[in-house]
Amino acid sequence: MNSLDVKTERVEGWNRPPVIETDGEGELLEVAMGPHHPSTHGVFRMDLALDGERVVRLKPVFGYLHRNHEQIAETVSYLAMMPYTDRLDYICSLTNNWAYALAVEKLVGQEVPERAEYLRVILAELTRAQNHASTIGFLLQEMGASGTPLMYAFREREKILDLFESLTGSRMMCNYMRFGGCRVDASPAWLDAARKVVAALPAFVDEFERFLSGNEIVMARCQGVGILRPDLAVNAGVTGPMLRASGVNYDIRKVDHYGIYDRFKFRVPLGDHGDIYDRYMVRVLEIRESIGILEQALKDIPNGPVMDPKAKIRGFRPKPGEAYGRIEAPKGELGFYLISDGTPNPYRYRVRPPSLINLTVLEDMCLGSNVADVVLIFGSVDIVLGEVDR
């Protein structure tokens, strides 16, 4: 069934996408963009209706990568679910680990040792830096800069992934956090290697910016395109760099102070216009802020255990109850909602996926723009299909 044929019930007063009136001349062209389109970052489909070059309707179609992640959780124990979380947003497995660990720690009231908190911050900020760098690389790729900016980003990402590999044993599927700490300790040699990588990052960002920020093509294609109003962004639950590019100051690291983020000095970069360029700029600035946090964390990291010795691992049965834990993942608010009924498996395990919810406003941003800009607007949202479809 073509989803464009569905008659939708119009409800007045809600924040719905505007209706684009066509001049009635000619026919609308319906395009199924995806699921196998190189710019959709995986298997994602947009059903477009085009009036010439102009987008009149856009309906995203999901589910090509659906594997009922949430139901798998109901059949395995809390700890056994940790490696599955790596596969949600597979670019940022360590932040997924942290969000899940945080939710379970809230559920059982578990404390985390100091050194483990520092390691978590270091790994999360490294993850953020490499995610934003590759997102910008992909965005440029979709703008027509075939390969080169992406390879610059990937060169830097590879150094960070090498760090992940030497600490956790895996580049992308890290499975590193535990309820009450981290799986293994970082050696002094690893910390030195991390310091070296972090010290080289500012030069990379400078170089990246020198090539891109003032680039004529980047400015022409990004400025004033795909504008998202701040009131709509909040109402539609948009989070992360997308929300802040629209000028809304909401960073969960600052709001919730989860982990030990209140110990670090960092600013929250904000945009003014909410267009693609602002989203690009917010990401660049967030890499710079992440470098700042990394320098502070790598300087102050104390010695000590990385796992709470009293943390229960075998026979882990949380008391009946529920908890919602959330973190500022690179893509937005990543939350885990857990209900325990006292058994070893979660009764209900829910992922609040920032990638999916940020796509709510995709139609609003694309309507009226050219079809070539849809690729860019979509690229500036920054999604991973493993998390959208779960």
Partner: protein, 232 residues
């Protein structure tokens, strides 16, 4: 109320309940206690007043819950509850060679079925005031035919895809949703796979292969072995 580790909200759930009941007369709000150390207690609201309550929570200057972060479904199956009750009833007994009817207290186990329900849980935050979460929940009457709940998409647009997902995976029908279709499963799919009693259908499409004869012989062999025959 304890926040998600952050600026805890100024009001407790009881205060929010009182505020809702003052603003929306007749709204039945129940405080649901949470036994976990997270301390995130929730408020159960009645579907009849849900839209008014949600509008109040969003627009109230003090609460300003402008951000519906998470919306999800939970399935609770029919539960068989057995309880022991003391019953006094006449019992015929032979006492001193005489048949007598004596009142006696007997313990009896009675079983009854508590009907299951589907529940939707909402996690609300405030971007303006930077507090939260406030947890709301809403129940359907049962799991089979009365599964309608009002949609909150007109109030928080972030519910648009999440309500579609709950409709898809749990089968809760959101009245007033502008575009209620399946989100993750395909349109022709019939069941709701996240329900606790979901059974995967045996719809594997067998295609003929060059080894069909071998497979058929293997099936016959297994059947014969199961029947206890010595030679296949």
């Amino acid at each position: 109320m304890d926040g998600a580790g952050g600026d805890s909200i100024v009001k407790t759930v009881e205060e929010i309940k009182a505020a809702i009941e003052a603003a929306v007369p007749g709204a039945g709000v129940t405080v649901v206690h949470n036994g976990s150390p997270s301390g995130q207690h929730s408020l159960r609201i009645e579907p009849e007043h849900a839209v008014e309550v949600a509008t109040f929570l969003r627009d109230d200057a003090e609460l300003a819950l402008d951000f519906l972060s998470n919306l999800t479904g939970v399935d609770f199956l029919d539960k068989e509850v057995s309880e022991k009750i003391k019953v006094t009833r006449p019992v015929t007994k032979t006492v001193d060679g005489l048949e007598q009817t004596v009142e006696e207290t007997v313990e009896e186990t009675r079983k009854h079925v508590e009907p299951g329900y589907l529940e939707v849980v909402y996690h609300l935050f405030s971007v303006a005031k930077k507090h939260g979460p406030v947890v709301l929940r809403m129940r359907t009457r049962n799991r089979s035919d009365e599964v309608e709940l009002p949609s909150l998409t007109p109030i928080w647009r972030s519910a648009e895809f999440q309500e579609r997902e709950v409709f898809d995976l749990y089968g809760i029908v959101f009245k007033g949703h502008p575009d209620l279709r399946r989100l993750l499963m395909w349109d022709e799919f019939k069941d709701h796979p996240m329900r606790r009693d979901y059974v995967e259908p045996d719809d594997y499409e067998y295609e003929p292969t060059p080894h069909d004869k071998v497979l058929a012989r293997a099936q016959a062999h297994k059947a014969a072995a199961a029947a206890g025959e010595e030679k296949a």
